[in-house]
C-alpha cells in the first residue's frame, strides 16, 4: 500500500466515489421507492436473542460512531481533553468497551440470523454482505484500538486533517501515508460501507425519527385543510 498510485486511488478517489454513490442512490431510492425504507426488524419473529444481540450492538455502534464524528468536527477539543493522561485513558477505555460491545452484539446478531430459521427466511444476500462488512470493520476498529493505542489523539492529529482536506477538495495524502496498515484498511472499508449503504437495509439510519421528539402527540391529516377556527 505504499505504491503512490494505489494510495491515490484508495484515499483520494474512492472516498469521492463512495460519497457520490451514497448521495445519488439514497436520494433516488428515497424518491422512487420510499416503501423500501424500513428497519426491516425481525424482532416479531424472535424476541429473546434479538434483545441480547441488537441492544449491545446498537448502543455500541452509536457510541463509537458518535466518537468518530466528534473527533472529526472537534479535533482541537479532543486534543485538549487528552492533555491529561488520566482523561486520555478514560476516553480510550470507554471507547474500547463500547467497541467490544459492538463486536459481541454483532456476533450475536450473525449467530441469530444463522440459527433461527424464521429469521433466516427474511435474510437476503445483501444482509450477509452488510453483516460481513460490519464485522470486518468493527474487528479492525477494535484491533486498532488495542494495538495502535491513543487513537483519540492521532485521529485528531492525522485523520481529521486528512478528512477535512477531502472536504476542501484538495486531498492531502501526507497524513495517511504513514498510517499503519490496519488503520488504512479501516478507512477504506469505511468508504466501501458508505458506498453500499444505499443498496442495503442500512438506510434506516438515515430515517431515524428525530421529529417525534417535538411533534404533537396526535397526527391528523386533512384531505382539504380545515378552515381556520376563528
Amino acid at each position: 500500500m505504499t505504491n503512490p498510485f494505489v494510495n491515490q486511488l484508495l484515499f483520494a478517489v474512492v472516498p469521492y466515489l463512495a460519497m457520490f454513490i451514497f448521495f445519488l442512490a439514497t436520494i433516488l431510492r428515497y424518491r422512487l421507492a420510499p416503501y423500501s425504507y424500513s428497519s426491516l426488524s425481525s424482532q416479531f419473529l424472535e424476541n429473546q436473542r434479538h434483545f441480547w444481540a441488537l441492544v449491545p450492538f446498537h448502543y455500541g455502534i452509536v457510541f463509537v460512531l458518535t466518537g468518530h464524528v466528534v473527533a472529526f468536527f472537534l479535533p482541537q477539543q479532543i486534543l485538549a481533553w487528552n492533555s491529561r493522561p488520566l482523561r486520555l485513558y478514560v476516553l480510550e477505555t470507554t471507547a474500547l468497551v463500547f467497541g467490544l460491545l459492538t463486536v459481541v452484539g454483532l456476533l450475536g446478531a450473525i449467530a441469530r440470523r444463522l440459527t433461527v430459521s424464521k429469521v433466516r427466511a427474511v435474510t437476503n444476500g445483501f444482509d450477509w454482505v452488510v453483516l460481513a462488512m460490519l464485522l470486518a470493520q468493527v474487528l479492525l476498529g477494535v484491533f486498532v484500538a488495542i494495538f495502535h493505542p491513543w487513537g483519540s489523539a492521532w485521529f485528531a492529529a492525522a485523520i481529521s486533517p486528512y478528512l477535512w482536506s477531502l472536504v476542501r477538495f484538495s486531498p492531502d495524502l501526507g497524513y495517511v501515508a504513514m498510517l499503519p496498515v490496519a488503520v488504512k484498511a479501516h478507512i477504506v472499508l469505511a468508504y466501501a460501507i458508505i458506498g453500499v449503504t444505499p443498496f442495503t437495509r442500512l438506510v434506516h439510519i438515515l430515517v431515524v425519527p428525530n421529529p417525534y421528539l417535538w411533534r404533537r402527540t396526535q397526527v391528523v391529516r386533512w384531505y382539504r385543510a380545515p378552515k381556520e377556527a376563528a
Binding site: 416479531f44 444482509d127 425519527p209 402527540t217 396526535q218 397526527v219 391528523v220 380545515p226
Partner: protein
C-alpha cells in the same frame, strides 16, 4: 368547541352468530399477501376466551393503551424519551408466538409421493420458513371453546368474578359463551398514532379513519405494542406495520366496508357522529367510573343549532351533517345508551360500540318441572348466565351500571313487543318494565325497528366523502390487484 366528524360503528352482539363471514371477507380482500397471512384485521372471538393474540386484554403483559400519571395522560408502552432507548428492541412487542405461525400444506406430496403401503398425506408447512411444522395455534383457535379450562378460564375479563360465578361459567350443562367480533376501533385518542416515531400513522381529518402511511412507516413497531386492542400488525416480510383501513376505498365510493357488507347476522351499523375534538384529552383523563359517560359527552347532538354552526365553521359539508343526523350509531350510543365502548379504561376513546348480549335465565328446572322466573321482571338480568361483572369488565371499565342499563332496556323492548304481537304478556307489565328501564313506547318501537327490521340503508348511513378528486380514483383499479392496497401502484416488496 372544535366539531369534527367521525365514521363510527356499532356491533349488536345479541345478533352475532359467530359465522366468521366478516373475517373471511376481510382476509380475501386485504391480507392474503406474504407477511400478512397471520393478520386478522377482523376477527371474531369466543368470550369467555383468550382471544387473538392470546390474552390481548392482559395489559400487564402487553402494556397497551394509556394510563393517567399525576393527572397526565401517558402511553403505557412508550414515551418520547423511552423511544430513544427502545427503538432497537421494543420490550413490549408481541411476537409471532402470541398470534400463530401461518401454514399451508404440502399438497404436491399427494401427487409426487412414491408408491408405498400408505396413502400419502399433505403435511403442514410453515408459510414463513417453508419447513414442516407442528401446528400449535391457528386463526380462531379457541372458537366455541366456552367452558374450556385452557381458553375460557384464562380470559382476563374474569377478574373480580366470584369463584361461584366462575364455576357456573363452565358447569357442563350451563356453560355459556358469546361472540365478540373485533376490528380496529378507529379511536379518537389512538395510542397507535401517538406512539409512531415516524409520524406515519395518522387519523384522517374528514372521517376519522386511522391509517398507516406505508411510504413513511419504517418498521419501528411502537404502534404494535401501543394499541391495547392489538389491532396493529407487523408485516414481517415487508418490515411495515399494517392495520384495518375500514375499507376506505369502498367507503369513498358509498359502499359499506366488506365485513359490514357481508355480515350474516346483520349485527353491524355504521354512521357519522360529530364530536368535540377540543375535549378529547380531558375526557380521556377521567377516572374509570366516569369514562363511559364522559365519552358520550364528546359525541355532539347533530340537531343542536350550536353544533351545526360549529360544524359549518370547521368546513364539515352539509351532506355529512345530514348524514350525521340520520346516523344509527348516534341513536344506539347517545340517545338509547345501549351501545357501549369496549375496554374504555384503555383510554383510546374507541369509536366502535357494542350492544351487550342478553343471556337471561328465563326458567330453570327443578325436580323435573320447568319454573319460569319471569314475574320478577328484571331480576334475571342480574342472574344472567354471563355474569354482569364479566360484561362490565368488557364494556364498562368494571362498572356494572352501564351494562345493566343496556340489558334492562333491551329486555323491556322485547317484552313490550311480545305484549303487542304475541299477547301472552300483560301490556301493563310491559309498560311498567319500559318505565323502569328508562324507555318510552316510541323509543322501544325505534329500537325494535333498528334491531330487527333494519334494511341495508338503515344500518349503513355512509356520508358522501367528497374525495372525488382523489387521484387514486383516476387510476385503473385492476392495476392495484397485486399492490399493497394502500393507494400506490407497486408491489409490496421487501426492501433490502
Amino acid at each position: 368547541m372544535d366539531v369534527r366528524s367521525q365514521v363510527a360503528m356499532v356491533f349488536h352482539l345479541d345478533k352475532c352468530i359467530g359465522c366468521h363471514t366478516c373475517s373471511i371477507a376481510c382476509k380475501n380482500i386485504w391480507t392474503d399477501r406474504r407477511g400478512t397471512e397471520y393478520m386478522w384485521w377482523n376477527n371474531v372471538e369466543t368470550k369467555p376466551g383468550t382471544g387473538f393474540p392470546t390474552r390481548w386484554e392482559d395489559q400487564e403483559k402487553y402494556h397497551g393503551g394509556w394510563e393517567v400519571h399525576d393527572g397526565q395522560l401517558q402511553l403505557r408502552s412508550t414515551s418520547k424519551t423511552k423511544t430513544i432507548f427502545n427503538i432497537y428492541h421494543n420490550p413490549s412487542m408481541p411476537t409471532m408466538d402470541d398470534y400463530y405461525e401461518p401454514w399451508t400444506y404440502d399438497y404436491q406430496h399427494l401427487f409426487n409421493a412414491p408408491e408405498g403401503p400408505d396413502q400419502p398425506t399433505a403435511r403442514p408447512i410453515s408459510m414463513v420458513t417453508g419447513e414442516l411444522i407442528h401446528i400449535e395455534a391457528g386463526p380462531n383457535w379457541d372458537d366455541d371453546l366456552g367452558g374450556s379450562p385452557v381458553y375460557a378460564e384464562n380470559d382476563p375479563n374474569l377478574k373480580g368474578l366470584s369463584a361461584e360465578q366462575r364455576a357456573q361459567l363452565s358447569a357442563v350443562e350451563r356453560l355459556v359463551f358469546f361472540y365478540f367480533p373485533r376490528i380496529c376501533n378507529h379511536c379518537l385518542n389512538p395510542s397507535c398514532v401517538a406512539s409512531c416515531p415516524s409520524g406515519a400513522l395518522y387519523k384522517r381529518g374528514e372521517d376519522g379513519i386511522v391509517l398507516v402511511d406505508q411510504q413513511r412507516c419504517r418498521g419501528w413497531r411502537m404502534c404494535v405494542a401501543a394499541c391495547p386492542y392489538k389491532k396493529m400488525f407487523y408485516n414481517w416480510n415487508t418490515g411495515k406495520s399494517e392495520k384495518c383501513i375500514l375499507c376506505y376505498p369502498r367507503l369513498e365510493t358509498g359502499q359499506a366496508p366488506a365485513c359490514f357488507h357481508s355480515c350474516v347476522g346483520r349485527i353491524r351499523y355504521l354512521g357519522v357522529v360529530l364530536y368535540d375534538a377540543s375535549r378529547i384529552e380531558a375526557v380521556a383523563s377521567s377516572t374509570d367510573e366516569k369514562l363511559v359517560e364522559a365519552q358520550r359527552t364528546l359525541i355532539l347532538d347533530p340537531h343542536d343549532p350550536e353544533v351545526i354552526a360549529g360544524a359549518r365553521k370547521n368546513g364539515i359539508h352539509e351532506s355529512v351533517l345530514e348524514s350525521a343526523q340520520r346516523s344509527p350509531v348516534y341513536q344506539f350510543v347517545k340517545v338509547w345508551k345501549i351501545a357501549l365502548p369496549p375496554h374504555i379504561e384503555y383510554r383510546t376513546m374507541p369509536m366502535l360500540f357494542y350492544v351487550p348480549p342478553m343471556s337471561p335465565v328465563m326458567s330453570n328446572q327443578a325436580e323435573g318441572t320447568i319454573h319460569h322466573n319471569s314475574e320478577d321482571l328484571f331480576h334475571d338480568i342480574d342472574e344472567s348466565r354471563v355474569p354482569l361483572q364479566f360484561l362490565a369488565n368488557l364494556f364498562g371499565a368494571g362498572h356494572e351500571g352501564f351494562v345493566r342499563y343496556a340489558l334492562r332496556k333491551q329486555k323491556a323492548v322485547r317484552w313490550y313487543r311480545r305484549a303487542l304481537t304475541v299477547g301472552d304478556v300483560e301490556m301493563a307489565t310491559a309498560e311498567r318494565m319500559l318505565r323502569e328501564a328508562d324507555c318510552s313506547p316510541a323509543e322501544a318501537e325505534a329500537i325494535y325497528r333498528l334491531t330487527s327490521l333494519c334494511t341495508f340503508d338503515d344500518r349503513f348511513v355512509i356520508p358522501p366523502m367528497h374525495r372525488e378528486e382523489a387521484i387514486q380514483m383516476l387510476e385503473d383499479p385492476l392495476e392495484h390487484k397485486q399492490g399493497a392496497g394502500f393507494g400506490f401502484v407497486s408491489g409490496p416488496r421487501r426492501g433490502t
